[in-house]
Amino acid sequence: MSVPWLSLILFFPTLGALGLALLPGEVSYRFARVWALTVAGLTFLLSGLVAYNFDYTSTKPQFAETINWLPQLGISYNIAVDGLSLPLMLLTGLLVVLSILTSWQLNKRARLYYVLILLLSTGVLGAFMARDTILFFLAYEMELIPLYFLISIWGGKRREYAGTKFLLYTFLSGVALLVAFLSTYFFSGVNSFSIDVLANPASPYPLVFQFITLGLITFGFAIKMPLVPLHTWLPDAHVEAPTAVSVLLAGVLLKLGTYGIVRFGLGIFPEAAAQFAWLLSVLAAINVVYASLAAMAQTDIKKMIAYSSIAHMGYVVLGIASLNETGLGGAMFQMVSHGIISGLLFMLVGLIYEKAGTRELPKLGGLFATLPVVGAFFVGAAMANAGLPGMSGFVAEFMVFRGGIERYPVATVLCIFGIVLTAIYMLAMLARAFFGKLPANLETMPRVRAWEMIPATVLLVICVGLGLFPTLATGIFEPNVAELVQQLDARTVAQLPR
């Protein structure tokens, strides 16, 4: 048997976490952070190795590992990566490393903190690798627990409120998914939870059944993304969570929602998806406009970024709804780009909070004088968020718009208007935080040291890199997206002759 690369990637963080937890005696935060960084770094390196050996022309699941786990129930430990999951796996690996760097100074119960971060990364990676619905569900639920503790222990003033809210919402999401997965299992009659088996049933699922399950799946993942009106847990979670957790939350955890819709919704129920898609486009447009407007009214920078992050997930949804290659490719691109840009924004907000002691816009101003580099990065990140060409957001959004405009002109126009709204609130925020006069009490604020900018620099470089050379990303998922669209077209045409 060849080396189980994916299992290594998946469980290396878990082993690292266990090791760190079980180390006897006191563990200083200096040791814990180096340990965590090493583990996360090696994991990311392994992911890089997989990416290096990945066959970018194939649409097949690669590096697959299958172990019959509970054969009576048809549950298997089945993991693999394909063009849809590989970019998200890489993004996860990278953001975990960067979030550990972001929390470099943390010394409150550092050992537990890093244990949880590492466990979290196993959960997320597992969800992206899973080729079995139950395995996916387990990973999806597993990621929830560390995140709950990360928010409730290291969070701000209302951390318990936010943690509980997050837990309840995500739990609900999990229940909906479980119901959907179980009913699919029973309906298919193939005694398997394997995605690849379920996606090609002997006889197609009845349309009504598809509608119900797809509805449940969409509902479950809509909480995760989140889609308005199921979104209110996210701003609270972000506001209370420490910077690194916000980076992970916005960067990768939300992607589980959109990834899930593509993988399970479009993958297993293409006929219903084709009929359902228009509804997604409506939700996407509402998401973009509503969350952008809500972002405009915020005075807490972090909450504004949280709403902005919700709004920009709407572009992913529009891309998915378009059901064509350009749109779906744009959705995939936007998932990666959103992970990078919102991660970057949360890091920068974290720096402001750390140095200025507040994130409230009325108390800030003139920060260019004291935090020039953060300011320059913030301008870059704001521009990226507003879809400025030369950065990843533009490519993603352009593809999404191009994919959507002919099928859903109204929803797409509203989404494009979202880039105007983004520019308005991002620039208004810059104007209030960085331009103007520095409040007297901030004149003595600590400055940013060069190394503190490393994580943000990495993300900005990637953001610009993908903006200038989009094929770096599109090359990974293009075959799979093409295949998915082909399947959609074939199945829908076969099923629903017009």
Partner: protein, 691 residues
């Protein structure tokens, strides 16, 4: 000399390299980089000088009849859509490259003097290089996507440069306003590009017009839709070239350093809109109605800009409104089909308006950071070079033969005359107003006696400030300075010392007498004076070398006008007469009878207030858009915080969990949670089952 074409990509890349180098320095060793003033200036100016020479070589080849050169590669592809990038150099591009690199080079040299005492000197040059790259990239763009890319990038550079003095609130507001108004235009542009692509299936400029024509002729696409797409595309130029009603950002953008006003907000970036219209002109001319809209937009803009310019007392604001007005002429030219005339005016305007702006900067520098013309006067004695070049600029823009502006404006008016008498009427009347306000500007600044230390003038200006309310609107006036009507933006009036750039009145007593600027500032003025006088001769009505040059390259042939002496004498004669009349009137009102303007303003108070309040555009937008959107945002937040009430009924379940309701359920009784979840789930399944 083929290499000058094949290596044309170097033209945007060289300034980019300079900007990147300085930018990297800023990130890694900021303090050290800040001190490298001369090396950075030398690097920026040097790279731009190289690109200027390169552009000249290209221009000489193009004049010699070299074919257009295009190189593209596949930049992105997804689902059958290929987005190419690359560069193209045709005759239009060659002319633009020369203008942009030339003006940018001179502005950089000028900045060395103007920004000498500014702590942000190095950052300024870095931004300038970045802007040059973006603008040059825009010029060589071979397709709609790439032009959109650079279009946005110049917008970002403009944002950075307008907000250069970040500690000034007015600058921050202006930068933000500029970017957002442009974003509104770009919203239309992006939609338009997507729409046009849905017809043409190509982004390349040469492929657009034939595809559109085929689509229209075959009836595959409703004509109305094509018109809508074209007008959406035109929204981009409307914002970038400050056409009514998206012009409101440009005057505010004068908060940026004056070299920026000259380069970006007069000569190059604002002309990008006209340039884009020129690029897609073959498309627009296929589609009925579009050019008509452009022509009228231009005419209205020209008139509105000119009427506001009369009332301005801030020298830069006056020039800004004049720029709006002149851009209106260019658009009008495009609209009446006089493609060559519009671009010709673009070129001449770039020369004389850059010179005027740099001249105003020299004046501001010379009188120690004052921009209020009511406190200038008599500067000709102190600043001979500046005043002479400024006078040349005034004569050029007023359309006095044989200065360059005369030829280009005459060509536009002549085309408008053939198209519609009304448009010609607006154009000619605006020309008279232009001559009047430019002469007023010159006379107030350079003639008469110096008022900067005149106590009565200071008191009068201070009293005037009482007339402007908090929203920047002049409601009426109790007192009026005796030497002319006018007001400025409240921000400038209300606060002194919120920035180095303008401290009005009080401070410059300390600065001493006005003085001429250093050579690095006067040299660009003198250099620009040469084309401002002479460049008109490349576009003589009876031997239009410039027009032929453009048409050869574009493959587009406008209606050939045979030169008729009678026609020429009629148009040119009447416009010259009007201009001379305008200048004479200004001389009468501001030199011979300086007490009259105030009395006239009082006599026609409603009209005067309408003009000085900028036709109430800003006030209207504040009411209609800014306040509404704030209200909408707050409303959304309210809805959001109260548990997304509107949507709760739809899901039937969020009610229990969302927002404030949540806290009552943190009872800790797990059974209760499960009960709720189970019940809701049942409800949901039932609901979905019913569908």
């Amino acid at each position: 000399m083929e290499w000058v074409y094949t290596f044309a990509w170097l033209i945007p890349v060289l300034p980019l390299a300079a900007a990147t180098l300085v930018g990297l320095g800023f990130i890694s060793v900021p303090e050290w980089t800040k001190r490298q003033r001369l090396p950075v200036a030398a690097l920026s100016i040097g790279t731009l000088a190289v690109t200027f020479v390169h552009s000249l070589l290209i221009l000489s080849q193009a004049v010699g009849g070299h074919e257009a050169y295009t190189w593209q590669f596949e930049w992105a592809a997804m689902g059958g859509i290929v987005v190419p990038m690359g560069f193209t150099v045709d005759n239009l591009g060659a002319a633009m490259l020369t203008v942009v690199t030339g003006v940018a080079l001179l502005v950089m040299i000028y900045s060395h003097g103007y920004m000498e005492h500014d702590p942000g000197y190095v950052r300024f040059f870095c931004y300038l290089s970045l802007f040059s790259c973006s603008m040059l990239g825009l010029v060589v763009s071979p397709n709609l996507i790439q032009i959109y890319v650079f279009w946005e990038l110049v917008g970002m550079c403009s944002y950075l440069l307008v907000g250069f003095w970040f500690y000034k609130k007015a600058a921050a507001d202006a930068a933000q306003k500029a970017f957002i108004v442009n974003r509104v235009g770009d919203f239309g542009l992006l939609l338009g590009i997507l729409g046009v692509y849905s017809i043409t299936r190509t982004f390349d400029f040469p492929g657009l017009a034939p595809a559109i024509q085929t689509a229209i002729e075959s009836g595959a696409v409703p004509l109305a839709l094509v018109v809508v797409y074209c007008l959406l595309v035109f929204m981009g130029p409307m914002a970038k070239s400050a056409q009514v009603p998206l012009h409101v950002w440009l005057p505010d953008a004068m908060e940026g350093p004056t070299p920026i006003s000259a380069l970006i907000h007069a000569a190059t970036m604002v002309a990008a809109g006209v340039f884009l219209v020129a690029r897609v002109f073959p498309v627009f001319s296929e589609v009925p109605g579009v050019l008509e809209v452009i022509a009228w937009t231009g005419a209205v803009t020209a008139f509105v800009g000119a009427t506001i310019a009369i009332t301005q007392n801030d020298i830069k604001k006056g020039l800004a409104y004049s720029t709006i007005s002149q851009l209106g002429y260019m658009m009008m030219a495009m609209g009446v089909g006089a493609y060559g005339a519009g671009l010709f005016h673009l070129v001449t305007h770039a020369c004389f308006k850059a010179m005027l702006f740099l001249g105003s900067g020299s004046v501001i520098h010379g009188v120690h950071d004052n921009q209020d013309m009511r406190l200038m006067g008599g500067l000709r004695k102190y600043m001979p070079i500046t005043s002479a070049t400024f006078l040349i600029g005034v004569l050029a823009i007023s359309g006095i033969p044989p200065f360059s502006g005369f030829w280009s404006k005459d060509e536009i008016l002549s085309a408008a005359f053939d198209h519609s008498l009304v448009l010609w009427g607006i154009g000619a009347f605006t020309a008279a107003i232009t001559a009047f306000y430019m002469a007023r500007m010159y006379l107030m600044t350079f003639e008469g006696a110096y008022r900067g230390e005149n106590a009565a003038a200071l008191t009068a200006v201070r009293a005037w400030r009482q007339n402007v309310d908090r929203e920047g609107v002049v409601r009426g006036f109790a007192s009026l300075p005796s030497f002319g009507p006018g007001a400025m933006h409240t921000d400038e009036l209300a606060a002194h010392g919120h920035g180095e750039d303008h401290d009005h009145g009080e401070e410059h007593g300390h600065g001493g007498a006005p003085h001429e600027s250093p050579w690095s500032m006067t040299l660009p003025l003198v250099v620009l004076a040469v084309p401002s006088i002479l460049i008109g001769f490349v576009g003589l009505p009876w031997d239009n070398a410039f027009g032929h040059f453009l048409e050869e390259g574009s493959g587009y042939h406008g209606a050939e006008h045979a030169f008729e002496l009678g026609h020429f004498l009629l148009i040119a004669g009447s416009s010259t007469l009007l201009s001379v009349g305008g200048i004479a009137l200004a001389y009468y009102l501001y030199i011979l009878r300086p007490e009259l303007p105030g009395q006239i303003a009082r006599r026609f108070e409603p009209v005067y207030l309408f003009f000085i309040n900028k036709w109430n555009f800003d006030w209207l937008y504040e009411q209609a858009f800014v306040k509404t959107s704030r209200l909408l945002a707050r409303g959304t937040l309210q809805v959001d915080q109260k548990g997304v009430d509107g949507v709760v009924n739809f899901s039937g379940l969020t009610t229990l969990l969302a927002g404030e309701g949540l806290k009552y359920f943190e009872s800790g009784r797990a059974q209760f949670y499960v009960l709720i979840i189970f019940g809701s789930l049942l409800g949901l399944v039932a609901l979905l089952g019913l569908l």
